[in-house]
Amino acid sequence: MDNGQRGDYAIETRGLNLWYGDFQALIDVDLEVKRGIITSMIGPSGCGKTTLLRTCNRIIERLGYVRTTGSVYVLGHDIFGDDVELVQVRKQVGMVFQRPNPLPISIRDNVLFGFRLHEARTRKVSVAEENEVLESSLRQVLLWDTVKDRLDKPATGLSLEEQQKLCIARLLPVKPEVLLMDEPCSALDPAGTEAVEEMIWQLRGDYTILIVTHNMAQARRASDECVFMLLGRIIEHGRTEELFLAPENAKTADYIEGRYG
C-alpha cells in the first residue's frame, strides 16, 4: 500500500506519533489536508503544530533524537517509504520559515537557486528561460514590480516582508505541490503581514498551503480550513468559519475565546 495512490489529499497522516527523546510531541495524529486550499494550524505554544508541519517534509529528522511511528502520505505517496529520496520530497514540499532566510546572494540567484540545482543540471537552460522563470516566480509573490530594477542587488538588502516573499518565490521554480509555512508573518509588522497574507491568498489554488500561525485572526481571515491542536493531538479540524463560529469541541471554544493559550 506504500506507493499506491491514496485519495485526493495533498497531505495525509495516519496514526502519526513522534517523540523527541522521551517526550511525545505528536499523539495519533490523523490529518487530511485537501489539495489547492489553505489550511491553517492553530494551538498554544508547544502543542506540536510546528512539529507536525516539519514532519511533512521530513526536515524534523535532522534532529538526531527524533523517532516516529505511523505514516505520512504526500500526494498519496508514503514519504517514509524505503525508496523515498528526500531531495524529491523537498522539491514537492517547499518550506517557509518564521524568519525570512534569503541566501546572501543576489535576488536573481536566490530565486533561481533551486531551479539551477534541479533543472539546469539535466539540460541546457537559456538565459531567456531563466529570466522567464525569474519573472513569473516574482510576479506570483507580488514582488516583481518592487525588485525588477535591482535583481542583481543582494537579497539581504530587502525589507523583511520582501525577503519573506522572496523566500516563497524561490520555492516556486521547482514546481512544488505543497507549501509549508511556519508562522511566515511573525517577524513582520502589520502592514507586512497584510501584504504577505494577500500574496498567500494569491497562491491559493495553484498550491496546497499548510500554514502554522499563532495569530488566530490571521487563521480566521486567511484560511479555508483550520486545524486546532492541543498537547500533541488534533482536537478539531473543519472549515475555518465553522470552527471559529461553532466549534464542536469545548477545548476549541475555550481556546478561540482566549481562555488559555
Binding site: N57, I59, R62, G64, V87, Q88, R90, K91, G94, M95, F97, R99, N101, P102, L103, P104, I105, S106, D109, F113, G114, L117, H118, D152, K153, P154, T156, C167, R170, L171, V174
Partner: protein, 289 residues
C-alpha cells in the same frame, strides 16, 4: 540637580584607570614587535643585497648569501600546505557538516585539540619515525613538509571548522528546503561564505610553517647544501634552521649576517601572508554583492 555626586566621580576615576591600564597593555603588545622589526632592519638591513639573496653561503657560512635556504623554505611551506590544507579542510567539512554528534566525533575533536598541544620537538621525532624511516622518505623535503603538515593540521581544522560554523544555519536550511543535498549546500553556500575565514587559518599556518625549526631539523633540513633542491626527495637548507645554525653552531659569523637572515625570514613570512591576503581579497571580490 544634575551635578556629579561623589559616587559619580569615583566611577569616572575607576573607569579612567581601567582605560589607561588597557591602553598600556595594548601598547605593551606592540612595543616588542616594533623593537624586533626595528632591530632587524637596523642591524640586518645593511647585509641585504642582491648577492645576499641570490648566492649560496661561502667560507663556512661566514660570507655569501642565503639562496638555498630561501628556496628550501618556500619548498617546505608549499609542500606542507599541499598536504595539510586539503586534509584539514576536508576533515573540518566532515566534522562540521556531516558528522553526527556521537562518541566517535567527540573523541576526534578531543584528539585534534590534543594534537594542537603537542610540542613541536615531539612532532619532529614522530616525523623521523614515521616519514623518514617507516615510509622510507629519508631525510627529505617530503618528510620535513609532512611533519610540518601534521603539526599545523589542527590549526587548519579548528580555524576551518569555526569559519564553517559561523555560516548561519538558516542558509543551510534554505538550501535543504529547496532540495539541495549536503554537498550542493556546502559547495554553493557554505564554502563561499566561509572561504575567507578558512584562508585566515591557512595564513596563520604559513607563518608557523616557515618559522618552525624543530620539526625540520631531523627530517629534511641540513646545515649546508650548495645546490638548490630539485625534487621533494632532496634534503634542503631552510631559513629557520640556517638562522639557528649560524647563530649557535657556526663560528666567526658576523652579527650583520645573522640579523640579515632573520630579517629575510620575517620578510618571506610577510610576503607569503600578503599573497594569501591578496587571494582572500580576490575571492571576496568574486561575490556578487
Amino acid at each position: 540637580m544634575f551635578a556629579a555626586t561623589p559616587l559619580n566621580r569615583r566611577s569616572y576615576r575607576n573607569q579612567n584607570v581601567a582605560r589607561a591600564v588597557f591602553f598600556l597593555m595594548t601598547v605593551a603588545l606592540v612595543i616588542p614587535v616594533l623593537i624586533i622589526v626595528g632591530t632587524l632592519v637596523v642591524r640586518g638591513g645593511p647585509a641585504l643585497s642582491w648577492e645576499f639573496l641570490f648566492t649560496a653561503p661561502r667560507d663556512n657560512m661566514t660570507a655569501g648569501g642565503i639562496l638555498p635556504a630561501l628556496v628550501g623554505t618556500i619548498w617546505l611551506v608549499v609542500v606542507a600546505l599541499l598536504a595539510s590544507v586539503p586534509v584539514g579542510v576536508a576533515a573540518a567539512l566532515y566534522l562540521s557538516e556531516y558528522a553526527p554528534d556521537n562518541l566517535l566525533t567527540r573523541t576526534i575533536n578531543l584528539a585534534i585539540i590534543n594534537l594542537a598541544g603537542v610540542p613541536s620537538i615531539v612532532h619532529a621525532l614522530f616525523g623521523v619515525g614515521a616519514f623518514v624511516y617507516f615510509f622510507r622518505f629519508g631525510a627529505s623535503i617530503l618528510a620535513a613538509s609532512l611533519t610540518l603538515a601534521v603539526m599545523t593540521l589542527p590549526v587548519v581544522i579548528v580555524a576551518t571548522r569555526e569559519s564553517l560554523q559561523a555560516v548561519p544555519q538558516a542558509f543551510r536550511e534554505a538550501c535543504w528546503n529547496m532540495g539541495a543535498t549536503r554537498w550542493q549546500t556546502i559547495r554553493k553556500v557554505v564554502l563561499p561564505n566561509s572561504i575567507s575565514g578558512i584562508l585566515t587559518g591557512v595564513i596563520l599556518e604559513v607563518s608557523r610553517t616557515a618559522g618552525e625549526t624543530a620539526p625540520i631539523m631531523f627530517t629534511g633540513a641540513t646545515a649546508f647544501v650548495a645546490f638548490l633542491p630539485e625534487s621533494v626527495f632532496d634534503q634542503t637548507m631552510a631559513m629557520s634552521y640556517h638562522l639557528y645554525y649560524i647563530a649557535t653552531q657556526a663560528t666567526d659569523v658576523s652579527e650583520q649576517l645573522t640579523f640579515g637572515v632573520a630579517l629575510v625570514l620575517i620578510a618571506i613570512v610577510l610576503a607569503m601572508n600578503a599573497v594569501s591576503i591578496g587571494f582572500r581579497v580576490y575571492l571576496r571580490g568574486l561575490k556578487k554583492w
